[in-house]
């Protein structure tokens, strides 16, 4: 579900030598390459930092955009997240992939920003409709076999909390407990949001099927 992307090779240091791995970095199950990269980033190695940013930028932006509907907000969240990932490099232990580790930072940053936006009423749902459109064409492969419309469109119609719960659960692959931790609510609240979100999506899909909306053949 969650995949590594842009698997750029770990650069050598700008001094032309590779960093020594800590003992735990050589163990089985440790993401040694990622750990070495982050050690270089923590040491302010410019090549490593740029490599890291290039490797994560698309993913970070995607995750931000899946949580924040407005492109400008997603841009802000992506930027803040990347900065935090770089400045937190020292805390990476290599016990999960770099992508998985950074996802948590991105999610937290994006949720924080979303909360701030809601507090200040910067955008309302209606205004964000256009913004929520994907920046790139949705790949046909990414669409469900029989989903009448792209799933993003259904997500966009859900209330923020339900939408985020679904994204974190089904897009990011977090457990209910992890979502509860990330969003500062109880696991039962997370379950409730998931169920409500799924129920609403189901209603929308069934409505589309009933009225003949179809992304493959148009109206049935």
């Amino acid at each position: 579900m969650v995949r590594n992307i842009h698997p750029d090779p770990v650069p050598e240091t700008t001094q032309g030598k590779e960093a020594e791995l800590p003992a735990e970095g050589r163990g089985e199950g440790i993401h040694a390459e990622d750990l070495r990269l982050m050690q270089l980033v923590a040491a302010s190695d410019p090549v490593a930092t740029r490599t890291l940013a290039n490797r994560l930028v698309q993913r970070v932006h995607r995750v931000s955009k899946s949580i924040l509907r407005a492109p400008a907000d997603a841009d802000d969240a992506a930027q803040q997240s990347l900065i935090e990932i770089i400045t937190s490099a020292k805390s990476y232990r290599g016990d999960s992939s770099l992508e998985r580790w950074s996802d948590r930072i991105v999610v937290r940053t994006s949720l924080r920003l979303a909360k701030g936006r809601q507090k200040h009423g910067a955008r309302n749902e209606d205004e964000s409709e256009l913004d929520a459109l994907p920046a790139e064409s949705a790949s046909p492969d990414a669409l469900g076999d029989d989903a009448p419309r792209p799933v993003k469109e259904y997500l966009a119609e859900l209330p923020e909390a339900q939408r985020n719960a679904l994204v974190l659960r089904h897009v990011m692959g977090y457990s209910v407990q992890e979502i509860a931790d990330l969003t500062d609510v109880s696991p039962n609240t997370v379950k409730d949001r998931l169920l409500r979100g799924m129920k609403e999506m189901r209603r929308l899909i069934r409505r589309d099927v009933a009225i003949g909306v179809g992304q493959k053949g148009g109206s049935a």
Partner: protein, 484 residues
């Protein structure tokens, strides 16, 4: 759908919910879940949606150039974080530095006291804003000076002549520095000369360039209006009180201060009117605002970036120094010299190095603004972008800054009208690699402004220009839906 089918779908939906919550299904439930989805189009559609949800992370998110730009911003920000922290800024001081807070700046501006000169340095307890107005009118005015009927020194609040060179006349008579200029008076400055007036005990300073003619149409502090018939006038003023206006008008139009610095130009012989802004923003005509670093040819509706040489000339005329390192210290500050400005527009070589530090490069200013944005300081970043455009108006960075400014205005700054102006300015200046983004942003701005007809036109133009873009796909459906 029959009742029995509905019951099957409900069972499937319940199982789907349990599955989505990671609950394990009994063997027969799991089999039913798989089999039913194959035969039921409704549940198959839902299953397809859930399956595609999991694929969302692999969809492309940013075009390469935007991804690169984002990386550069991040690297600049992380680099900036390594620098020593700057002093904390007071909220309001961010934009409007107190005069007392700038003793060093004051020292940079030696005073040349003259009889009757109103000190501009002693009374500063509030923030100072600057406005420079320059206008050249096509119609050469005769050197006809007059006082309005009943106007005279006692007729109402006027101005004081605080500086002059060359042939300066009021009501046709030569005047000396220190003279009171009553409301309704018309001031003429001959070729090669200049004249500076102070209003409100120096809170407003207006300088006329060579071959200029100006009438004091209204001099009440709440509603001051200068009527320029020929030449150049540059004005520096403190922030106006709520409800107060400062306007420079000409037969071709008018410009009213709404922020800090603005300018209006009507090139001689062309009969047009150009508004030029050095800091802040200026409202021109019916609500159109011009931002710092930009100039608007009101007559032709053309917006451009201010020529830095013109900017320097105008600021020099009024004796104003705008910090060149503003992008690094994002406090839009400006100081107004109480001294008479040099008659020559350009500062002398011997003085310039003392008063103006070497300006940062466009790249440095862009990095600084981006760093502010990265810190979440949208207002500071916007000011940094404006500074960059003002200092390096012809640079590639200025063009990039214009688009970044537009994004901020459309997003966190909540200023769709400003965003629209910025997008328009970007596109008018020749577009570029991000013209598509600018056009799309423009559509969003129009929508937020509720200008449906213009939005529709813009969408049609966009779809025609970029038929295969993602935005076009979405915009087409918007058009077909008849929303705009």
């Amino acid at each position: 759908m029959s009742t029995s089918d509905e019951a099957l779908c409900e069972r499937w939906a319940e199982l789907s919910d349990r599955k989505m919550l990671d609950e394990s299904l009994a063997e027969d439930d799991a089999r039913f879940y798989e089999e039913h989805a194959k035969s039921c189009p409704v549940c198959s559609a839902e299953a397809g949606a859930w399956a595609s949800l999991a694929d969302l992370p692999d969809e492309p998110s940013l075009p390469d150039d935007q991804a690169e730009a984002l990386v550069e911003r991040v690297l600049a920000a992380t680099e900036a974080k390594k620098l020593p922290l700057r002093e904390e800024r007071e909220p309001e001081a961010k934009k409007l530095p107190l005069r007392e807070a700038e003793p060093a700046e004051a020292k940079k501006l030696p005073l040349r006291e003259e009889p009757g000169v109103v000190s501009l340095d002693e009374r500063r307890t509030r923030n100072r804003l600057l406005a420079g107005t320059a206008a050249v009118l096509a119609v050469a005015a005769g050197v006809v000076l007059y006082l309005r009927a009943g106007a005279g020194p006692a007729a109402g609040p006027g101005a004081t002549l605080v500086g002059a060179s060359g042939d300066v006349r009021v009501t046709g008579e030569p005047v000396k520095v220190g003279a009171a200029i009553p409301m309704g008076a018309r001031i003429n400055v001959g070729p090669g000369g200049h004249a500076c007036l102070a209003f409100d005990e120096g809170r407003v300073k207006t300088c006329l360039g060579a071959s200029s003619e100006l009438a004091l149409a209204k001099t009440d502090a709440a509603d001051r209006e200068l009527l320029l018939t020929e030449g150049t006038v540059v004005t520096a003023l403190e922030k106006l009180a709520p409800g107060h206006h400062f306007t420079v008008s000409s037969p071709k139009g008018r410009a009213t201060v709404t922020g800090t610095v603005f300018s209006v130009t009507t090139p001689r012989g062309e009969g047009s009117l150009v508004v030029r802004v050095h800091e802040g923003s200026v409202e021109v005509g019916a609500g159109r605002a011009v931002e710092a670093g930009q100039e608007l040819d009101v007559t032709r509706g053309v917006e451009r970036l201010v020529d830095p040489n013109v900017r320097d000339q105008e600021l020099s005329l009024v004796g104003v120094t705008l910090p060149r390192h503003a992008a690094f210290a994002p406090l839009p500050s400006a100081s107004v010299a109480s001294a008479e400005p040099a008659p020559s527009p350009a500062p002398s070589a011997s003085e310039a190095p003392e008063t103006q530090p070497k300006p940062p490069s466009a790249a440095e200013m862009l990095s600084a603004a981006r760093a502010l944005r990265a810190q979440g300081n949208s207002a500071g970043a916007a000011e940094g972008y404006r500074r960059l455009m003002a200092v390096h108006p012809k640079s590639a960075e200025a063009r990039a800054a214009l688009l970044s400014l537009a994004e901020l205005q459309l997003g966190p700054l909540g200023d769709p009208a400003g965003a629209l102006r910025s997008y328009d300015a970007y596109l008018r200046s020749g577009g570029g690699g991000l013209a598509q983004e600018a056009q799309y942003g423009r559509i969003q701005a129009l929508r937020r402004l509720g200008r449906a007809a213009e939005e529709r036109t813009a969408i049609e133009a966009f779809v025609k220009a970029y038929p295969n873009s993602v935005q076009a796909r979405a915009l087409k459906s918007r058009l077909e839906g008849g929303s705009p």
